[in-house]
Assembly symmetry: D2
Homo-oligomer: 354 residues x 4
């Protein structure tokens, strides 16, 4: 059972391999009558696309989305929105270094073990290129969710940690630098560090933080489909993610209940927000905030030892144009997945009470 679908009511199914003719998807369940801003959707793709700055992969992919259905006279019709992003340069590359050997910490060998066979060009289905389809759907979800505000940003690169609470940050500055860190000073350090890592042909991990404001109360379903459980799954489904925490997170473990409990003000809001906007799996109207840990990209521009299909040791020279650090381009992906989660829960909440 193939796992290419996200959501239950606001539902996205994606298709496509890195170097096939196209990637794309079908978004089902978006209510009829939503006026779509198509430029804003393309704008989200621009935030994700390769080649946008000196610290991301220098591949050239225009990533232009084509819509096939579900939109008429500028509005959603309630029928499925089919779309594709054509791959413009999928031909003629040399994949011999990938075809016959397994790259360490990639999905090459696990795909072969599972399917007996794989499309080895550029990682095939396991390529992060698939996330472009999520960004398209997430951009539609954002428009459906307005005035909910979803703002992700880079809060850590390697050991460079920007630990200011989000309330002290001006998140409108996130897009002002190529790292997408809203603290300009730290952004500069991070950018310089990523440049150094790239020169070595190496890669480095990072953390994306995300804040969601104006969340309606009541989103999230007990018991298994708690709002933070779905957020966690959605984030962990993004390539290279190794961890997720929300609200007080792992640090909250060290607190006592008497410190950690969020007392109510008389207006029903809470005085603190260690809960991260979610109590019992259901949004309480406070800000939702969470962190997502990304490992260092596995593709290196270095020579490495590995094995081929027959188990022979081989030495391979890594090549191509790859991201030295994935988090700057991951920011719009995190936002897109958060939007898909919230849009789905908003629809799921419709019939909660008479």
């Amino acid at each position: 059972m193939a796992g290419n679908t996200y959501g239950t009511l606001f539902k996205l199914m994606t298709f496509g391999e890195s170097h096939g003719p196209a990637i794309g998807g079908i978004l089902e369940g978006c209510p009829a009558g939503l006026t779509l801003n198509l430029e804003a959707i393309q704008g989200e793709l621009e935030r994700r696309k390769p080649g946008q700055s000196a610290i991301v992969t220098q591949r050239k992919e225009p990533d232009t989305v084509e819509f096939f259905s579900g939109i008429f006279e500028g509005k959603t019709t309630g029928t499925p929105i089919g779309f594709a992003i054509h791959n413009t340069n999928q031909k003629s590359k040399d994949y011999s270094h990938i075809k016959d050997s397994y790259r360490p910490s990639h999905a090459d060998k696990t795909y072969d073990d599972k399917y007996g066979f794989r499309d080895y060009r550029g990682g095939g289905r396991s390529s992060a290129r698939e996330t472009a389809s999520r960004v398209v759907a997430g951009a539609i979800a954002k428009q459906f969710l307005a005035p909910v505000q979803i703002r992700a940003y880079v809060s850590q690169v390697g050991s460079l940690i920007m630990d200011k609470p989000y309330q002290e940050l001006d998140l409108s500055k996130t897009e002002s630098n190529p790292v997408r860190c809203p603290d300009p000073e730290m952004a500069g350090k991070m950018e310089a560090y990523i440049r150094d890592v790239r020169k070595e042909g190496d890669t480095i991990g990072g953390v994306v933080s995300c804040v969601i404001r104006n969340v309606p109360k009541g989103l999230g379903e007990p018991v298994f489909d708690k709002l933070h459980a779905e957020l966690g799954k959605a984030m962990l489904s993004i390539n290279a993610v190794k961890g997720f925490e929300y609200g007080s997170g792992f640090a909250g473990v060290q607190m006592k209940g008497s410190e950690h409990n969020d007392s109510f003000s008389q207006d029903g809001t809470t005085k603190t927000n260690y809960s991260g906007g979610i109590q019992g799996g259901i949004s309480n109207g406070e800000d939702i905030y969470f962190k997502v840990a990304f490992k260092p990209v596995a593709t290196l521009i270095q020579s490495y030892e590995t094995i081929d299909k027959e188990g022979n040791a081989v030495t391979v020279q890594g090549k191509g144009r790859h991201d030295p650090c994935v988090v700057p381009r991951a920011v719009p992906i995190v936002e897109a997945m958060a939007a898909l989660v919230l849009a789905d829960f908003r629809l799921r909440n419709e019939g909660a009470k008479l």
Copy 2:
């Protein structure tokens, strides 16, 4: 859409409130012909049940499971396994302190906001009592999965951190102490600390680690249903969980790709295992390991300020018999959810290739 179901093929639906007549569930999709060890199932419930030691809640609940269907002549029949755990002392308690006011950092207010109404007795549906049903189903999943070994244990209580790698631990010692920490010395410190916290009427958080051995290759589905994404969701769906990380986790962020990549040995295993047994969302046969962060329990045996339904400030005296630290009893729940995840993926993997 109510979220009371876990899994797609090996599927559990649960029902029940803390203080209704019974909790229970239906497990669908367990293959026919599995000889069930019913004592082992009840044994898992004993590991979760209240009153088992001095550092957990002193409530008395026998938690005896009754099976209604799906088992014949000692074996599963392929039809749904219905079961219930009757609540033996659900009557006659005094809930006036919960009924009219909202306990901080509980689900009281979010349930009221969502449903306009709630069963306030003992937390109702939001009570962790629901996890007993998961333990029943998880125990069946464990038997289905044999010889896969799922071993959880407590690795942190408050700021007491046992940071030995799991390979250096004797996990057979986990059950030898009430904390369920396999390091006897640290277990002693943790136990003493939990006793102190309890005396204050306070609570403290903790971390449960989990190791899974003998995992078949190929489990997990690209793209959205990666093995670690489902593990994350399953863990985050457990009451009080605030974070999840697997393999190198949040610490892996600080590593370079050249350090983090797991090189292959010629037999196809990997020399290191920062990937945590999962690559591209699919198990590679190495040990899976992950950590789950639990916040301090919100129920205190202290007086606290809060509001009632009308928004009036009220002072409430916390009472009852509650866990000062949830992680010792959470160990079998983490194992149960891990078993449900793996059992589902094992069935989902059946038709992956011709």
Copy 3:
């Protein structure tokens, strides 16, 4: 993937074998705040239960439903409604004639082929006893759907056909006779005929018709989940059903488009209703009507030839207390399934437009 669940939002999962300790189910997704009439639910079970008249099986089963959860202070809470019907006389019977041989046109052999094994007592999971759980859930769905009126009745037994259009019938008379045919004269003939068939130890087929009034517009989902497609599936999932038609049905095949098209009146209703209240898979507010064909019950009180597990020819003497004709007791089951279909589509329609 086991198929014990009906519905996507208003969702029923059932469990239980004919002669296990209990049958029952979990109903998920019923909105919170619905005041339940528990007597009315039990009343629907009485319409289905054995022993209610001389022309149905004479088994004695009280079929009393016990609710475990999801109801508090007389109202639904939005959490799953768990329930069971305990089997009171499941012990001590003699199944040797079923255990070792395959009854013709039963599920005995197909269950053995599929599962390698079966609970042979009284048909196990394939017994129509399972439908009692559907009647419980359907009775709740009816209360949720009010003022929608779902009225089924017997329109054919063997070759005795009552072909009056439903508009000419007084459906309040359906319950006035044991056949559940609203035409008293035909009811008398049918009853006499069923008594004759029973004396022979034989069985006979029948047709249940159903009319649904006060249906909201807009129920049903294009493309695959058309309202009539789900009604058809729901009816065909009832034991012994061989056919389904709605609106003009099979007879409509012989009509020309110019006759068959339902012209609009100026108030938006239609002058005729060959469409059966559904156009393009979506309800249009006109009456929905359909027919369901039931084969003769396979269990005979006669001697018959068959084979055992090893393929040896054996002669078996049919015994027990069985229905000579299934349709009188099928009437509340057809209504229950129709109610489940409509309740689910009502919830599914909530987010259709902004």
Copy 4:
């Protein structure tokens, strides 16, 4: 919840409106390693396409399928198969007669009621053009299912009924005439009749029968997802279908159990097959056969009275190129849906027993 998905494991989601840029779909769950015959897939589309004979619509649509993903080096990879059929002449037509008024017995008004809005060009999403996507996926399912043989044919047009049992027919002749009736004499009569109906600008209904041979035992899931229940739903989801029966069907109602029961031969096959190859919802290895009733097409080339959005009576002149009888082109669609049903159940049956 939008209903554009068919299947649970072998799963098709479709998109597209009649006159948008493209229709298409994503097929998920087809096992890896299946060598695909792309010509055979296109061949099925040719059987469905407009303009293929004098008795179907004379529209010109090449209906060429383009595959985007999931196929590599001629074989399925286990990842989703995305595809599209571009609409070549979607522009420039005059829809004013549809835009402002509601065609009788179409989905125009129900779509407007449900979504508040519709893509009125050529029926939009409710157009039978959508079934081309089903034919693509069904053609892949057929290749996956080999050597299962699915053969549909026309058995009735209006009151012209070919009532020979399928065993007496040479189904290889089905494609030898434009009606797709395997009895040449009856085919001639049907063709002449359809020509007459067309001359009147009218339409007529019909029946498609289907026979499936070489079915593996064990397909179908108790309780709700019986094989025939899913076949029924799949057929009823095809545009214009009003009824479904399998095995003895509606006629079986008049039989006694002693006649209707299918006795076993010693080899485990049955001597008769009133069960239609399915017992207890599970295939028993005998031939599956069923009938599907299609109403007369609602689109007439005649003048008709109807209403506009404001409820004013209007007279409209029907125009365009439409099918006078839908069943000849429905034959490949019935086969495609049957293939999707069986492929899904084959995968669902994988983990039925240990």
